[in-house]
Structures are given as C-alpha cells and as structure tokens.
Symmetry: C2
Subunit: 135 residues, 2 copies
Amino acid sequence: MNIGEAASASGVSAKMIRYYESIGLIEPPARTEAGYRVYAGEDVHALRFVKRARTLGFSIEETRELLALWHDKSRASADVKAFALKHIGELETKIAELQGMAQTLRHLAHNCHGDHRPDCPILEDLADPAGAGRH
Amino acid sequence: MNIGEAASASGVSAKMIRYYESIGLIEPPARTEAGYRVYAGEDVHALRFVKRARTLGFSIEETRELLALWHDKSRASADVKAFALKHIGELETKIAELQGMAQTLRHLAHNCHGDHRPDCPILEDLADPAGAGRH
DNA sequence: ATGGTCCTTCCCATCATGGGAAGGTCAAGG
DNA sequence: CCTTGACCTTCCCATGATGGGAAGGACCAT
C-alpha cells in the first residue's frame, strides 16, 4: 500500500503521515527500491489510532504517550484512566474559558440596540471594560 | 511613556506591542531622538482595547475590524452587534466540539476499571472506534 | 565612569497543518 | 517504445500569536 492509499484508509493526509514519521511518532515503513513508502494493515491501524486520539483533542505528545501505553501490554488500566481524566480536566478548563467569553459577549450584545444608531455597549466595553455600563 | 510602562499600563507585553505595530494593528508611536518609542495615554487606551478584544477570543484580524468600527463614529450599532453575534456563534461551535470530546472521553473513562489490570476500553476505542464496546 | 536597567532590531522556536516546487516513478494506452 | 498523467520523493515556506534570547545602544544613579 502506497502512502496515498494509507492516507485515505486512515483519514490522515499523506503530508501528515510523513510528518508523524519525521518526528518519530510512527515507525518508518518499508520502502520499495524506488524509495516509495509501503504500508501494511498494521501501520494503517496505528494511523487510525493517532487520528482518533487527535480527534479527541490529545496533542501529538499526548498521543505519543497513548501509543506507548497501547503497546505496553502490561500497563495498568488505572494509568490510562488517569491520563484520560487529566485530559478531560483540561478540556473542561478550556470549555469554561470559552463559555466565559461567550457569556460576556452575550450580555453585551443583549444590551446593544442593534439599530442604525452608533451607540454601542460592546465597543464601549472594549474601550473601557471597567466603565462601560455606567450611566 | 516608554514601551515598558505602556506594557504594564495596558497588560500587553512590550514584545506584543512591537508586533502589533509591525503588522499595522496599532499606529507607530512617536520616537525620541535615540529611537525609543514614546506612548501617550490614547495609545495605552488602544492597547487596552486590543487586549480586551483578544481576551474575549477575537483574533487579531477580527480585532482589527473592531478597531475600525471603534474609530468609525458613524457605524451603526447593528454592525457591531452582528459582528459580536457571529463571534458568539463561533465560540459556541468550539465549545460544542470540546464538549463532544469530553463527553466521549468521560464515557470511555467511566467504563474503564482503573485498576491494576491491563484491559482498558479507552485504548480499545482509540485502536478501533467502531469495534470497541463489543463483547 | 561604572553598573544596572531599560531600550533597539534581528533571528529562532513553538504547534499542527497545508501549499507548492522540482524532480523521479509507475502504469496504461497510442 | 514513448508519452501522458497520476502518483511519489524531498525541501522550503506559510500560517497565528506569542515568547526567548543575543548583540548592541541609551539612560540614570551612584
């Protein structure tokens, strides 16, 4: 299987497959005499693992640790669970941050007439967060 | 006021102030004969505007548009409101994505014993999302 | 005049991904 | 047998926002 086929089979672009190889995230595959990369079913399996981890928001370095746990047949499930819970915590922190932004903006937008007049509490808040909203 | 003072007065690092200037987000300030940047109160005001916009999750390019709206005395508040609502929508999309990730991981972690045994639904899902959970 | 703290510009690194150029390879069809 | 088109290779560059740090100049208090 060439890289293009491995890409469509795994959902990881050929570009990223080469990149993952260059940073040592995945094993370098065999090569043909002409230098073409040749992938086996197991390689595609690893690529799908990486794709899934990235989709769940794990960074590449975290994905590297997950791959190590995956290959370590003797790991304790507690280790994997702790890793996942830590990541969940980070996701929740990020979510809370974004929700804070959205909430502030919703409040400002709610107080903005949204008509032809120029007065706008949104810009007033940006210009002077402490003073905006005063009358 | 030197750049360091403007930085602590605005909450924007000196490094970023220079960067914002280099990309034309803020006006180049006056200079002393020796080449030092000299900031006035109005400059710090603009920097705080930028800082606030960034804190609310606007990109630099979006911040550029907000600055333009701010300086355009004749804009309609409806334009600003529409801009804010669009950004709120993007924030909500991002939040939903992250919540999807967190929810999936919570589900997987919930089904993981988290003990000394190696069996782990989390890794099974990463390795085979479609098949994990089968018995 | 000396030292410490500020300032200047310039280059490099991050993280993950894509774009594209220049050139080699392979398979199909004339 | 040769061309054509689709693939592959490596290499460099760009993104977005920020920080780190070097080399050198400026300012100020002792």
